[in-house]
């Protein structure tokens, strides 16, 4: 009775293993975090009335669209990584996971480039509440991406040794990391539409 049950096995009455319930609860709290930020966005936009700038006035929609494609494809490759583990193909997993991390880093560098362009044109968060909420929202989102990259790289590098010892548990870890990553992509879909397109 020493080892913690249901870390890998699924518990009958809930049908889940611990980590999956844990990640879904964490994602629920993330929904509330971005909920708080979007409620701020809505309040600021309504408060600003008509002189709320269109997204396109400050933001380059083309780069934003490209970034959305990058994140969506990284979401798909993350899924492929998990699928290839399910098919016991460790080589494919390493490849797809590597691509996911690379795409995430690409997303961050494009984001960094966008930020530097803003600062070069002297658009700072303190200019108006649109830029303030833009930098805050995308900044928090970028922090989440960095967190995801750290976890994914650990699972790609040292963490993948667990594949030999406990393949089942390692597959679950990738699934859980995948759920987090899809959520980050889901938030970006809303963020991109709200900030760049409206």
């Amino acid at each position: 009775m020493q080892e913690i049950p249901y870390t890998v096995a699924v518990r009958q009455d809930t049908g889940l293993y611990n980590a999956k319930m844990g990640i879904w609860l964490f994602l629920a709290s993330e929904v509330m975090l971005f909920g708080g930020l979007f409620s701020a966005y809505v309040l600021l936009r309504v408060g600003a009335g008509e002189h709320w700038p269109l997204g396109a006035t400050y933001l380059n929609v083309a780069i934003g669209t490209f970034n959305t494609f990058v994140l969506m494809s990284s979401s798909i490759t993350m899924l492929m990584a998990w699928a290839s583990l399910k098919m016991k193909n460790f080589g494919h997993f390493k490849m797809y996971q590597g691509i996911t991390i690379a795409l995430a880093l690409l997303f961050l560098s494009v984001k960094g480039y966008e930020y530097s362009m803003k600062f070069k044109h002297h658009h700072f968060p303190s200019d108006n509440t649109f830029l303030a909420i833009y930098f805050t929202l995308t900044g928090i989102h970028a922090l989440h991406i960095i967190g995801g990259v750290v976890v994914n790289s650990y699972l790609w590098g040292p963490g993948s040794k667990m594949w030999q010892a406990e393949p089942e548990r390692f597959t679950n870890r990738i699934e859980v990391a995948g759920l987090y990553w899809h959520f980050v992509d889901l938030v970006w879909i809303f963020l991109f539409s709200v900030m760049y397109l409206l």
Binding site: T14, S39, V61, M72, S73, I76, M80, H182, F190, F192
Partner: protein, 104 residues
């Protein structure tokens, strides 16, 4: 879910299909935003397309469609409070004390 090889191929083909759908919907959104319709119309269209994309990601990629009842209860609870957190502050702005010069 992925029992053997050929159903695996089917799954992967489904994911790629979803990927293409997501890309096209995003492009459609960009196109709609360039039309410069009146602002509330664009908001409705763009947000509903984004919501559809998000549901695609959630149901298919995150397998929410075949998830346990317990996870649904957590998420329903969260969405209720999300809606409250989003719209009550707004209600506060649109319903000021009458007779006071309340500048939002």
């Amino acid at each position: 879910m992925i029992a053997d090889q050929n159903s695996a191929q089917k799954e992967i083909r489904k994911y790629l299909l979803i990927f293409v759908v997501l890309l096209s919907l995003t492009l459609m959104n960009v196109f709609v935003s360039r039309l410069h319709l009146n602002i509330s119309l664009t908001i409705i269209i763009v947000l509903s397309v984004a919501a559809f994309e998000a549901s695609l990601v959630a149901c298919q990629l995150m397998h929410l469609i075949s998830e346990e009842k317990l996870i649904y209860s957590f998420l329903v609870l969260t969405v209720i409070f999300f809606v409250f957190a989003l719209f009550i502050p707004l209600w506060g702005i649109f319903n000021p004390i009458t007779g006071s010069t309340h500048v939002p």
